[in-house]
Symmetry: C2
Subunit: 379 residues, 2 copies
């Protein structure tokens, strides 16, 4: 061996000892103990029949969570933003007209990804924290007749829900494929992909699924897949090419990449818990705890940014009161209670707190703990 | 709730009960018990100061494993192929002349990724299982004067090592950036990035690192980063854009994506084990067990595909004897012993076994167990 400086200065990595956090922000959320246990199970190969069984369980569970009968329902081997890039890069081509409903940070990210595919991005903008007017949204689509339309079902930067029914109806009327970012809504409130008319939806694992980050659930409608097969250009991305991923996960089981087995175990376990609870019961739990949280926040004098009709159940954005510095409050929560919430950014920087209660986190006890700690930190 | 067919047929996901496999193929390899334990530690947020400490530990450990002082040394949030796409998409542009040394499946993948970046891909081909002649390789580079040159340090499909010294020297003489696929070599044999002249190297976690798949270690030289900053075109990929990732992991800590925290814990632990053992001792262990394995394979009548001077230490490709069907042998190993090895593919389909002993797997006992079981299965 050589005596390079790198070797002389050999570093030491000590015992891993993470702080115990209560993750009550916009995600990652707390991981369920059962999910940690599943991740301790021994891995198998990425072409092992057992792995494909795991994948089938994930497909079945995700179909319930997304509310779809799409057989093309799987997980991309990356985080939520990888799911976004898979959706955009496969269904938005060079020269596509791509309408994005933009009222937050993640819609901006979708727009940026569209531009990177050399599409013409047409943005229908709303101020961050406000919802879209259905008629105006539909008119915009009819005016521009795009090839693809994207919206954020649950906007993590603002707490705004866009159910997408009017958008998808108009988009289909002009023959556009519809893409929905369901990163913060999956498993926390109904998305109803099929009924809504969403062709392509993606999400993450570290919110409603109670898993660590690492996979991006995705689902595509049969008509979206037809469109993909007919696409004349090749995706610049090999890693996110859904045609190749279909050959791996659907039928042919042709090697594409080495799937992150342990993350698949985790997602499978998160979905097992969802099915055991029952999807209806799970939604009701999130709805009731969202009501409890918003009432609690209002009871300590905080005003909610989002109007009731546009509120998600998993994430809330109370305004930072005048004269209060959000960082000070967040530091107190962290130092005194180990509680992590987040602040706003972009148009809402310094103006809101972002508080999330999703998956395992969504309990009455957690709501009461957070509201009490926040009251104390604001005093 | 609606009464859609999806809900009527609510599936059940039972207890996760993976088979116990001895993973002696080309990867994934066995995960170290300490790594499983680290993955059970509670996650923190992706902007938590503790996460950035973990990231610094990973940087320090990877610098030792890669043999580099590159400060830009980190992990991409995807599998090894995600690292490949990050390397190619950032350093190969539309119109680039891109030379690929192609003697196996993964070099073909690099070529395909280059084509998807609209580069002109120029392949110097060798039959699968053979190494490259240094003088011919250098002459090819001097003839074509490419912008970028890629080679596979350890070709997982063939077991061939390409140390890359002659390639990098010639590439730098014509001003090209050099890219090396170190997926199967990282942590199993010296790569010596800096001495070799490799500008950009990527790897995975599920081989020499003894972790599950899920992250792609990557390192870039200062001159490669300068070239990246001067690049006039934008990467089609937002997820793999190293300029954006630098803002997240290096200094500014600006949110990019939600890093898969648990996978970072795992890689940190794998690297802690590597540092505790000592990089020199680790290489010596792999070298000695590679000798033991090749001798063992020869002792039971198997002929090795790769000549001694081109052999990797982590992966070996004995020929399937005439009249033997590789699938039958592999099935016997799996059924009798739970041992997974792989067969060849592409030019070597049906012609070789692929046997890997990497990271925690590389022990004399495992070598003897495998050779004994293989002897029995071939009998």
């Amino acid at each position: 061996m050589s005596s390079s400086p790198v070797e002389l200065a050999t570093p030491v990595i000590g015992k891993l000892n993470p702080p115990r956090r209560l993750l009550f922000g916009p995600g990652p959320s707390m991981v369920a103990p059962r999910v940690y246990a599943a991740m301790g199970q021994p891995i198998v190969g990425h072409l092992d029949p057992f792995f494909f069984q795991v994948n089938e369980d994930i497909r079945a569970g995700l179909q319930v969570a997304f509310g779809t009968s799409n057989s093309f329902t799987m997980a991309i081997s990356g985080t939520g933003s990888a799911g976004m890039e898979a959706a955009v890069s496969n269904f938005v081509e060079p020269g596509s007209k791509f309408v994005v409903f933009a009222g937050g940070f993640f819609a901006d990210r979708i727009s940026e990804m569209g531009r990177r595919q050399d599409a013409t991005v047409l943005r229908f903008e709303a101020p961050w924290g406000e919802g879209f007017d259905d008629d105006a949204a539909a008119a915009f689509i009819h005016q521009h007749k795009p090839n693809a339309v994207a919206f954020v079902h649950g906007e993590t930067s603002t707490g705004v829900l866009t159910n997408g029914r009017a958008i998808c109806k108009a988009a289909h009327a002009v023959g556009a494929v519809t893409i929905a970012d369901c990163v913060t809504s999956l498993g926390t409130m109904p998305i109803d992909i099929d009924e809504t008319g969403i062709d392509v939806a993606f999400s993450c694992t570290q919110k409603g699924m109670s898993c660590p980050p690492g996979l991006a659930p995705i689902t595509c409608s049969p008509s979206a897949l037809e469109r993909l097969r007919a696409r004349p250009t090749t995706n610049h991305s090999w890693y996110f090419d859904l045609k190749l991923l279909a050959d791996y996960y659907e039928g042919a089981r042709r090697y594409h990449h080495t799937a992150p087995i342990t993350s698949f175990y985790a997602l499978r376990e998160g979905l097992a818990m969802l099915l055991e609870e029952g999807i209806g019961a799970r939604y009701e739990r999130h709805r009731l705890n969202a009501i409890r949280l918003t009432k609690g926040l209002e009871s300590i004098g905080l005003e909610l940014t989002v109007k009731p009709e546009h509120r998600m159940w998993a994430l809330h954005t109370p305004r930072v009161p005048q004269g209060v510095i959000d960082l000070d409050v967040r530091k107190k929560l962290l130092d005194r209670h180990g509680i992590e919430i987040q602040g706003g950014f972009g148009q809402l920087a310094g103006k809101v707190f972002r508080i999330g209660m999703m998956g395992e986190c969504s309990t009455a006890d957690n709501v009461d703990l957070l509201v009490g700690a926040l009251k104390e930190a604001l005093a």
